[in-house]
């Protein structure tokens, strides 16, 4: 895998991070700018922008945030709202010149909110496709199996390319990386198998495979039983298993180390055991990671 590098969509402009939440609460636009610069300097390829629920009722602030970020970095942005009205504000505000002509990303569209594609009338964009849910007989359903993930990814990709003029390179299929601490249903297993299935499909060649990796360590302690950095090793365990199959883009923190673990890493072995387990057995194995 040497020489390969993951594309990084910098995730830090999001009130899910406590320090960022404070910046938003204080309307600290220069603090947001600093965060944008810091991610760019650390190697981010895109910057994800999420201002939380305020986007729903404070469109002026949404605009100000985008403009402030674009004033200091020339990276393309990824707008993180599953909502047409908010996305419209973002896409209208986006200054493509300031991003050296590069298109923004709409994060995210799924079969259940396909009408968001009407936003293409505002400007061309790349898109993150949520492959964790599907529309069946008009009803949204959460996918539980990798075959469902691969099928819905293929269905959406075909429509985007044949019907909406996007190229494979404009598409990021998000396989939805679940939290290990509550994965009793094998959803991480589904994500990795889904990546494998998509990479085996010649019609999906050139499409990017992505996921929000920080979610995987939610609600877990910082340290493993042996005192080592648990969170980083779990993130890297996922990368180790997914990268060989074309997982090439991570929504994550640019200054983190996103590289595969050594093949003999104990955490890698434990991670593989956990994602093969189900129910409380999986929880018992997760607990072992940090209790020994």
């Amino acid at each position: 895998m040497t020489g390969q590098r993951l594309t990084i969509i910098g995730e830090r402009i999001n009130p899910g991070f406590k320090s960022t939440k404070e910046l938003f609460e204080k309307d600290d636009l220069s603090g947001i700018q600093e965060l944008a610069r810091r991610q760019a300097a650390a190697g981010a390829d895109y910057l994800n922008v999420n201002i939380g629920s305020r986007a729903l009722y404070d469109k002026a602030f949404m605009k100000e945030v985008i403009q402030a970020i674009q004033d200091v970095v020339n990276l393309p942005l990824s707008f993180d709202f599953p909502n047409v009205d908010v996305q419209a504000v973002c896409l209208e505000t986006y200054d493509i010149e300031k991003a050296s002509g590069r298109k923004p990303i709409v994060n995210s569209i799924s079969e259940t909110r396909w009408d968001m594609l009407e936003l293409l009338s505002i400007r061309p964009f790349k898109v993150i496709l949520m492959a964790s849910e599907r529309l069946e007989d008009g009803v949204g359903r959460a996918n539980k199996f990798s075959a469902e993930v691969a099928l819905v990814a293929k269905r959406m990709t075909e429509k985007l390319i044949s019907g909406h003029g996007l190229s494979a390179d404009d598409i990021f299929v998000d396989v939805s990386i679940s939290a290990l601490s509550s994965d009793t249903e094998g959803l991480l297993h589904m994500a990795i198998e889904g990546i494998k299935a998509i990479s085996n499909d010649p019609s999906m060649r050139g499409v990017h495979l992505s996921g929000g990796l920080s979610n995987i360590v939610q609600q877990l302690p910082a340290k493993a039983a042996d005192g080592s950095d648990l969170k980083s090793q779990i993130e890297r365990a996922f990368i180790t298993l997914a990268m060989p199959y074309g997982f090439d883009t991570v929504l994550g923190t640019p200054w983190k180390q996103y590289e595969p673990l050594a093949p003999d890493s104990p955490v890698l072995a434990q991670f593989q055991q956990i994602i093969s387990a189900r129910g409380v057995d999986a929880m018992r194995l997760v607990r072992k990671l940090y209790r020994g």
Partner: protein
């Protein structure tokens, strides 16, 4: 022995806890006391979770252990298993429309159930009318709305507005949870409270339903 049981459950010593329960009831011990010990143990687990000493897997393992213990002692309660349906109250729960996430909600359901609440789970992507109809039908004291996506905040607001329009809001305590809920979202949706995790949901129910 009951103190030992509380400690064993809270310290996640599954085998020991189950053995203690079997020994206690086969020696003629009162099964209701076992259930009381379970509740004390769960309080301890909840406190350790809030203190950052325990994590989600411990909550779920403790919940599972409580279920196993209940399965042993409930048939032995005076009046049989039916007598044990001394519920702490009913909670109606669901993921609001437009949102298909259920992992967090399912953990909340599980923790509420092991804490003695009668939980009615409407599932995911629940239409506003379904919440209104069920509240009208069941008159639960507590409604819990879950949602992970930011669009869920609008759905929560619509659901709560519809309950007000139907005249059902006043008799109801509503909590929201999931994703990035916070005080701003609570106030935007007009919910009574928000919770950041499953133990918050249990604590809120305890506050609201303390008889």
């Amino acid at each position: 022995m009951l103190e030992e049981l509380v400690r064993a459950i809270a310290d996640m010593e599954e085998e020991l806890a189950l053995q203690l329960v079997r020994d206690f009831v086969s020696g003629g011990g009162d099964p209701q006391q076992v259930l009381d010990a379970c509740r004390d143990a769960m309080d301890l687990v909840g406190k350790r979770f809030e203190a950052g000493e325990y994590f989600l897997p411990e909550l779920m393992l403790a919940g599972d252990l409580l279920e196993q213990i209940s399965a042993i002692v409930k048939p032995l309660l005076v009046g049989g298993p039916q007598a044990s349906v001394k519920t702490a109250g009913t909670v109606l729960i669901g993921t609001v429309h437009g949102d298909l996430h259920d992992i967090g909600k399912n953990i909340v359901v599980f923790m509420l159930e092991v804490s003695g609440y009668n939980v009615i789970d409407l599932g995911i992507d629940v239409p506003v009318e379904d919440f209104v109809d069920k509240v009208r039908e069941l008159k639960p004291p507590v409604l819990a709305l879950s949602g992970f996506l930011t669009l869920a905040f609008d759905s929560m607001k619509e659901t709560i507005d519809a309950l007000s329009d139907a005249g059902l809001r006043d008799s109801l305590k509503i909590m929201i949870g999931g994703g990035q809920v916070d005080e701003a979202v609570r106030s935007y949706t007009n919910a009574d409270a928000f919770g950041l995790n499953a133990m918050d949901a249990v604590s809120l129910c305890r506050q609201w339903l303390a008889a």
